[in-house]
Symmetry: C2
Subunit: 328 residues, 2 copies
């Protein structure tokens, strides 16, 4: 028994109430909602329009416990959902978490996970208003993210792009994919690796796009070409991309060199065009609107086969990630 007392208790030893207390942090500053944590459901105050999305992060599919930390799992689970709220032109205000973990998970690990969840929520301007726990043979973090739109505000749909609109993107695509390649090759530390573990969200940019008059907005989760093609298909338009206009993180070149690739240039282009999970925002801006700071114009919407994407005039089929099939 004395040996056992030297290690942190497990979830199975601590019990549900103790885990939920760590996860939901009932003592923290409230959200002002009528009912927060600890009840059957949360109750949120009045809203003109509520944005809501849900998504799971699954061990073995989205992360490996030997390549990331519990804190970063929590951050990423929140970030990928916040990203979808931003992509409607809203800011995220509330986060709910449903967690499945093996009983052997330690309370220290739960504490780190909670730190990641609450830290990323706070970074996004949101509070955690609900939590649920279950046991499982692997770790699954389900997150629901919510935001509100002011009275009369128009949500930024994925199907609003029109011929003549400029296409613009936040951030530099391909960082997460390059980071994963480095991690899998045994290079554990670095900016790209961290960009894979937790995407850096352009907080405020979704709202800025809405106020600027964007016609469509989505987040890049499955790959730039794939998500751009999806937006163009939903909008019934085609896209001309200008390769030279694509923002390139110089670290992609360093990564290709570190990996000793035979054709580093081709790999860099693949990372940029088809690498997923960067969670940049991809928007279209009609003539006469001003593209907000943080966005880089990378092409133009035109009439054509719905969903078709052209790179410097040449058609290109998206690769990227299919959540049922895996990498294409």
């Amino acid at each position: 028994m004395s040996a056992a007392s030297d290690r942190p208790p497990t979830v199975a030893e601590a019990g549900e109430a103790a885990v939920l207390e760590v996860l939901s942090r009932p003592g923290q500053a409230g959200s002002g909602d009528p009912v927060g944590n600890g009840d059957d459901a949360a109750v949120l105050g009045p809203a003109a329009a509520t944005v809501v999305t849900t998504d799971m992060l699954v061990e073995g599919t989205h992360f490996r416990l030997d390549l990331t930390t519990w804190r970063d799992i929590g951050r990423r689970a929140v970030a990928q959902n916040v990203s979808d709220v931003l992509a409607m032109g809203a800011d995220c205000s509330r986060v709910l978490v449903a967690l499945a973990v093996p009983g052997r998970t330690t309370m220290d690990q739960i504490g780190e996970l909670a730190e990641g969840i609450h830290g990323e929520a706070a970074r996004s301007g949101a509070v955690v208003v609900g939590g649920d726990l279950t046991s499982a043979t692997l770790v699954v973090v389900g997150v629901t993210a919510m935001g509100t739109l002011p009275d009369g505000a128009r949500p930024l749909r994925i199907d609003g792009a029109a011929p003549g609109d400029r296409v613009a993107l936040t951030g530099a695509p391909g960082r997460s994919a390059a980071g994963l390649a480095l991690l899998l090759a045994g290079h554990h530390d670095g900016t790209l690796q961290q960009a894979h573990r937790v995407p850096e969200l352009p907080i405020g940019s979704g709202k800025a796009a809405r106020l600027a008059g964007a016609s469509a907005l989505t987040d890049v989760s499955d790959g730039l070409l794939r998500d751009l093609s999806g937006m163009a298909r939903a909008s019934g338009v085609a896209v001309d991309l200008v390769v030279e206009a694509l923002p390139v993180d110089p670290r992609l070149g360093e990564a290709a060199a570190a990996l000793g690739l035979r054709d580093p240039e081709a790999q860099i282009v693949d990372w940029i065009l088809d690498g997923g999970e960067d969670h940049g925002l991809l928007g279209t801006f009609p003539p006469g609107t001003t593209v907000p700071p943080g966005f880089t114009v990378i092409g133009t919407i035109r009439e054509g086969d719905p969903g078709a994407v052209f790179l410097d005039g040449r058609p290109r089929t998206p690769g990227g990630w299919d959540s049922a099939r895996g990498a294409n």
Copy 2:
């Protein structure tokens, strides 16, 4: 290739877009929301107060594929979340689903699952407004359920019970636990087994309790005594239960007989007091209020050790289910 075409395609073969189309049924009558399925997030119309909860159903923990059907997995995942919305005194109006399945899952199975999800949502008066898909080594169905409360309506919290209130319950507890015992013993068909596969929700009873002036309400998911004790602890009160007043489904006796138990009476009492997953609503009603139809009065709230529960005057420690530890 000709042999392969005789079997239904798998999720991995059909791809994400095809799966999401089946899951979200974009063609069905809409909810009137500004943005429904197919975008980064759903956008819901104006609300005075929004009730929201999220919970996962995990293969191996909550269900076994050999003991249930895909349709019933979908129904149960929705029902257990709707139950938490009812328990705030609201009706459920919207459901979001995050699904993880192995790539070998067939599109026929996805179709059955979708039927269960949409059928149970419709039964609850709700529509499915969002879906997400990921691959995993086991099946996880994450559901977010939402409802609204009218302007000025008071949500039914878990901590509002006060001395003198009557304690009342919908349905007959222990059915799900008895059904599981029958299933595990190889008796696959029957009312109790189906009650385990899919709880029968008292739709409308949460709202009725609110309109009747209930002081507290929760749903019984972990066991009658356990959830009642939790409500009493949150409210700082004790509970006197009258054993004779507890509603007993006569099928529990038949189940105990079919299982050939040595002490059937003790097992029946255990199922009723500590069996989880019935998802009845448990409420407290102050003096002067009328307990609504569908509720059975089973005891009284009194001053005492917060969370203490007495059966005909004798203290009893709750068993039930701890989501971190398992059965107590």
